[in-house]
């Protein structure tokens, strides 16, 4: 599945009328596949609900940006609030879903998406840890293998954690997995049979049901 197909697949699982935060990067594309009639309200952690699509041309307003600092628009019924309120909304369990990218997710739902632990990297976390533990459901969108062919769904994360046991579902280019205390389960396989994906992951040391 290509990234846009995957974004469309994630969008189908977002319940109507839910409050949703889409992480920077790939998850942002989910917005393009949400049905306007679904009543889904997008939250951006820099202080807005009912964020609209990207702004272009003379609709660009430097005071109206998303968490990725890109110019966006407001939809009717939008609301603005300050940062402490915006993150209270997350931690307080008011956001239904957030969709995040990841370097690694463990079978038990640990998330690593803020640092690869490289010794020369400048640490930067932004709102990743707040989102990971705040939203009621955390979906991850990622490729199942990295560019060097290493699995990103793993028995336990080797990169520094963003949050422990916080991810409930992982959407990859190959399959959708549920993760949690009981381990990883294939929920839906796309182009390759589930058994083949299980064998492939078993070879990396990960047991998937």
């Amino acid at each position: 599945m290509n990234p846009d197909q995957l974004a469309a697949r994630v969008a189908r699982d977002i319940p109507p009328h839910s409050y949703v935060n889409l992480g920077i990067g790939l998850p942002t594309r989910v917005a393009d596949h949400l049905n306007p009639e679904s009543g889904v309200v997008l939250h951006t952690e820099n202080g807005m609900l009912n964020m609209g699509p990207a702004a272009t041309g003379d609709r660009i307003d430097p005071d109206l940006i998303n968490a990725g600092k890109q110019p966006v628009t407001e939809l009717p019924g939008a609301a603005y609030f300050h940062h402490a309120d915006s993150f209270a909304m997350m931690r307080g369990g008011h956001l239904d879903v957030c969709v995040l990218g990841a370097f690694q997710v463990s079978a038990t739902g640990d998330l690593a998406n803020w640092s690869t632990g490289a010794p020369d990297a400048i640490p930067a976390v932004g709102g990743a840890m707040d989102l990971a533990i705040g939203a009621r459901q955390v979906f991850v969108m990622m490729t199942l293998f990295d560019k060097r062919g290493r699995p990103k769904l793993v028995p336990s994360c080797t990169f520094p954690l963003t949050g422990a046991g916080c991810v409930s579902r992982v959407y990859t280019d190959v399959a959708v997995f549920d993760v949690g205390p009981e381990g990883a389960v294939i929920r839906e396989a796309f182009d390759v049979p589930a058994e083949q994906i299980r064998d492939q992951l078993a070879a990396t040391g990960l047991r998937v049901r």
């Binding site: 952690e45 307003d61 940006i65 407001e74 300050h82 940062h83 402490a84 020369d120 976390v125």
Partner: protein, 219 residues
Amino acid sequence: MIVASADDAVAGIADGSTVLVGGFGRAGMPYGLIDALIRQGATGLTVVSNNAGNGDTGLAALLKAGRVAKVICSFPRQTDSYVFDQLYRAGQVELEVVPQGTLAERLRAAGAGIGAFFCPTGAGTLLAEGKESRTIDGRDHVLEYPIRGDVALIQAHRADGMGNLVYRKTARNFGPVMATAATTTIVEVGAVVEVGALDPEAVVTPGIYVDRVVNGSPA
């Protein structure tokens, strides 16, 4: 309350001060006040802000001028944060990385007189190392302390002569919490309006939190 220039607004900021700087990226960044602070000359500053400057202006210019000893922020690394990146790699600026929501809440706590709070964000991660933790209702929490500023530099859309503030769109970001968290809160606004011209129901930051206002930023 209303001062004539950005230079008057930043007068008296001492060396070694903790300065809260509003803004998320460029939105809500009080550029006029930061430029005035560079001219004013205070050094050895601890800067608390979400980012560590963009390009060569604002916070990046303050860093480049060598006035900042420490940055407390959530996300210093950006595509155009080369000034901070160079100083950090050269060991010329100290960095404390704080999750964005924890940064906001630590500022809020300072302004609200809270001694410390247990927060689930970051529990079990590198950023919780060395911090007191507690399991509450089955969930791990980390003890977080307030961040108080000697000075807050923020930007708002309008102020009246009482110092009441309204903001504009996502430029609001850290302004309202930083305004509460500093001994001296200094605000750059797009326009100063007459007392009574702001709808009291729409005031976001009441003037009690505001010390100096300068008519400055373009709006």
